[in-house]
Every structure is written in C-alpha cells, then in structure tokens.
C-alpha cells in the first residue's frame, strides 16, 4: 500500500513537471522571410488561411479568478453583442488576399490551398526553435507544393486588460494571429511573424449600441496588421 502511494506521488510529480515544461517553452521568435528560396526554379507556394474559430468578441486578460472573470464579462457584454452582430470576417479575407498578392510578387507559382486536415490534428514535430511545432511535411505530396504559407488568425474583436475586478483601460481594437511559411522538405520556418495589434479607441469607448470608437479601433487594428504583413513579405 505504501509502495503504491510512493508510485502515485512520483507519477503526480512527473505529470506536473511535464505540464510545467510545456508552459515554460520559449516562444518562437520572428523569422524574417528567407528570400533565397524564391530563386529556386519551379518553386510551388501554397497559401492556407485558418480563420478564427469564434466570432468577434471582447478578449479579457488579467481577470484572474472565476468571479473576476464573470464580472469582467458582464462589463463587456453589450460590446460583445455589438461585435458579434456587426463585425464580419470580410476584412480578414482581405488580409488573406494581401498575403496572396505579396507572395505572387515573389514567385510565379502561388495558389490558395485548402488544408486536408486542421493544423491541430497534424502530428507533432520535435524540432528546435526555427522549426514548426506540427509536421507539415506530409502536405508536400498531398497538396503538390514546396512551401506552405499559413495565415492563422486566432482572435479578433476587442481586448481589455483587467487587474482582477478592475479594468486597467478601455477595450481596444484587437487582432491576434500569425503568418508563417514552412519549407515542406525540412519543416523549417522560412518566415514567422506574430500579429498582435491592439488599438486604443479615440475618446469614450462606452457608447452603446454601436460603439463607434471601439469599432473604428478594430478596423485600425486590421489595417495595422495588413501593413505589418506587407512590410514583412
């Protein structure tokens, strides 16, 4: 019985260590686009777009207890209703078109592709920094491309920072995601760009039901993101 208890203790500590090592992993730094690759004759580039999973809403950070989070959600509920009803994904689609247009200036063989499976379901790839966390190499044959460019938008809408119950500032226009290119021979990043645009609304934010200041700052965040992508490609 005692042995069983010790085993359980070790198992628990090992599990916790594994969990914490994942939390402590170094985030992928920016990789500037390696343009040498485009000198290769017949390089085929595929561009995939991963849209956000949810509708535009307010993303709350810093409300670190359950009650804090519920209070924070209550404070932004009417803004959420507005964002969900009025912010469509057409501006995000324009970002995808910008990626296509910019890469088309680099290579003649650029096309939009649909991934046969979601990125989450791809196998993990054990590589160092500079390599994709998922194994994209299996897509080389399936899609008939050499370089996969992924525009992945995680969140969009508004961002509000809290200290427990208290907001630190106004809700800001927000878009978060990443743009990365993977060499499908090596699974190495040819480009990695994190997109995290937050824009302060001009003036009073709390103007229901149309929230013009926050809405404008959302479109400002989108434009900032577009510019960042143009500059990076």
């Amino acid at each position: 019985m005692k042995m069983l208890g010790i085993k359980f203790k070790y198992l628990f500590v090992a599990g916790l260590a594994i969990l914490l090592s994942a939390c402590g992993s170094t985030p992928q730094p920016t990789v500037t686009l390696n343009t040498n690759l485009f000198a290769k004759d017949g390089l085929k580039v595929g561009i995939a777009y991963a849209p956000p999973k949810g509708k535009a809403t307010t993303h709350i950070y810093g409300a670190n207890c359950l009650l804090c989070y519920r209070v924070a959600s209550a404070l932004t509920s009417s803004l959420d209703t507005h964002l969900e009803a009025n912010i469509m994904t057409d501006e995000l689609t324009k970002i995808k078109n910008i990626v296509l247009a910019e890469y088309s200036q680099r290579s003649k063989n650029v096309e939009l592709v649909s991934l046969p499976t979601s990125i989450d379901k791809l196998k993990k790839f054990k590589g160092e920094l500079g390599f994709a966390k998922k194994d994209f190499r299996v897509l080389k044959e399936k899609l008939g491309i050499d370089l996969l460019v992924v525009l992945d938008v995680y969140n969009h809408g508004a961002y509000r920072s809290f200290s427990n119950y208290i907001p630190n500032g106004d809700p800001q226009g927000y878009i978060a995601g990443s743009l990365y290119s993977v060499d499908l021979d090596t699974n190495a990043y040819v480009q990695y760009l994190r997109i995290d645009e937050k824009v302060q609304p001009s003036g009073d934010w709390d103007e229901p039901s149309t929230f013009p200041s926050v809405t404008t700052s959302y479109y400002q965040a989108i434009e900032n993101g577009k510019q960042k992508i143009k500059d990076a490609i």
């Binding site: 519920r70 404070l75 200290s163 427990n164 208290i166 630190n168 500032g169 709390d206 013009p212 479109y219």
Partner: protein
Amino acid sequence: MRFLFIIFAITLVGCGSTPYRDDYTKHVNIIREGYLDETDFKFNFVENPNVDLRGLYSQNDTANASPIMYQGVGGVAGLLVQIGTHSSLIQSQRNSKLAKDQEHANNQILPLIDITTEVPLRDLIGEHSSQIVSLENVGTDTVNIKPIFFSNSDMTELSVKSIVWLPLEERRNKRKQRFKYKNLIQVYSPKLKDLQSQQLTNGDSEFLLEVLSSLLKTTLYITKNELTGQFSKVRKTAQTFIVEENSSKKVIRGSIVANKCGYQIIQDIHSWFIAYPTPEIVASLNNDFVSLCHDKSIIN
C-alpha cells in the same frame, strides 16, 4: 448570487469609464426639420477666444496591471470598499498617464505654442468675420464653437478638432438633454513640405497663422453646411478611409458627404465630420490651395 453580480457591475461601470477629454464629444442631433437659415448663420467662440494649440500624442490611457490581494475582512461591504480603492488607484494612474503624455507632447512643439498663445481666433476667420457675434449677443440660435489645434512633434502635420453645439432652447424637465445639436469636426492640413516645416521651426508666425486660419475656415464651412441641412440628405454605406496622422496610418470608417476645396469631407460612424486632403492634394507638391480655397465664392 445574481444580485451580487449586479452590484459589482454597477460599481464597476464607473471604474471602467474613459477619462474625460475636452476634445471629444458624442454626436447629438434633435434639430429634425429646424435647420438654420443660411443667411442667419452666426457663431461664437464661447469658451476660449484665443488659439489653443497642443501637441499630438497617442492617448493610450491603459495603465499597467496592478494586481492586489483583497483582504477577507468586512464581508461584502469590505470587499466593495477595497474594490473602490483599487479602482480609484487605477483611474488616477490613467489620468496621470494622459496628463504626462500631453505635457511631453506640448514641450515638443513649444516654439509653435509660444507664437499662438495670445492670438485671438477672431483674427483667423477672414471673410467669416461678419458671422461672428459678441458674447453678449449670443442666443439659442448662435452656434458655439470650441476649436483645439494640434501639431505632431515634427511640426509637419497640423489639424484642428472643434466641438460645435447649439443649446436646447428650453431645458425640458427631468431630461438631461442640454443640446439641440452637438458634434465634432476635425480638419487636417496637407502634410507640410520640408521648407514649410522649416519656416515653422524658424518662428514664421505669418505662415503658421495662415495654416491655422485655413483649418478654421474649413471648419466653419462644414459647420455652416451641416447646420443648414446641406449634408443631411447624404447617406451612404460605411467604408474604410486611410489618412496619415502623426506619421502613421489612421483609419476612418464612414462615407464621403462632400468634396470641396481639395478636401474630402467624411462623416464617420460617430457622425463626426472629418476633412482630409484628397489623394491628389496629398500627392501634390504644391500646398498653395490652402490659401486659394477660401474666397467668398466658394464658401457661400
């Protein structure tokens, strides 16, 4: 539990409010069919008769996170007191951040502020001087205008934001509404060329006042057209416009209500009017239209 949330929410709505800014207003328009007659248009600079010029800054008032541990003593009442104190602390940080940023931005354009501090707005309105009324003759049909000029730190972009309002003749009982009309009008100058910017840094007051005058006259043109009902019929779907402000690209969502004097006048989703030089003027090397535009034939 739900009751507790309601109390929290009510308490925290106050905590989450944006710090007050005098260059901002919500749009109010209950004029309906009672627009002003063009020939009776008159205005006054009520709050400050002199030029108010300020440095432009980002206006991001988000304070750094300041997590605190709430004490368990005193029950719900004690918790609310602690939340109130925490909230006051953060609100004070936000106000202080804005004040510091404004002071810093003003210091960067001190040469321009020194020139303009004592200049009366009345000296900048040119042909509109017949429409201004003295303070003692201000009536309920007199348009009140409060212009605030801005310059970026490089002194290459000047703009004016004006709060424009018409008071409500009789304040109806128990109603908070004090205005028949209230709006914000913003006018940007074309970006100044190197030589022009040099003129400003060298203290060329004549050139500076010419630019400020042009901005103010365009504001008066928009005010008059809006309050005489000229823009009320123009309604289009919103689109995105990109303008340059403080060396970055600023988005305006709205629709064009007029193209005039080298400006596109946009009504944005706040219902504010924003006049920005047309793409042709932005690309042009010649900014002399600023002074050519405001002759009487165009204004009237």
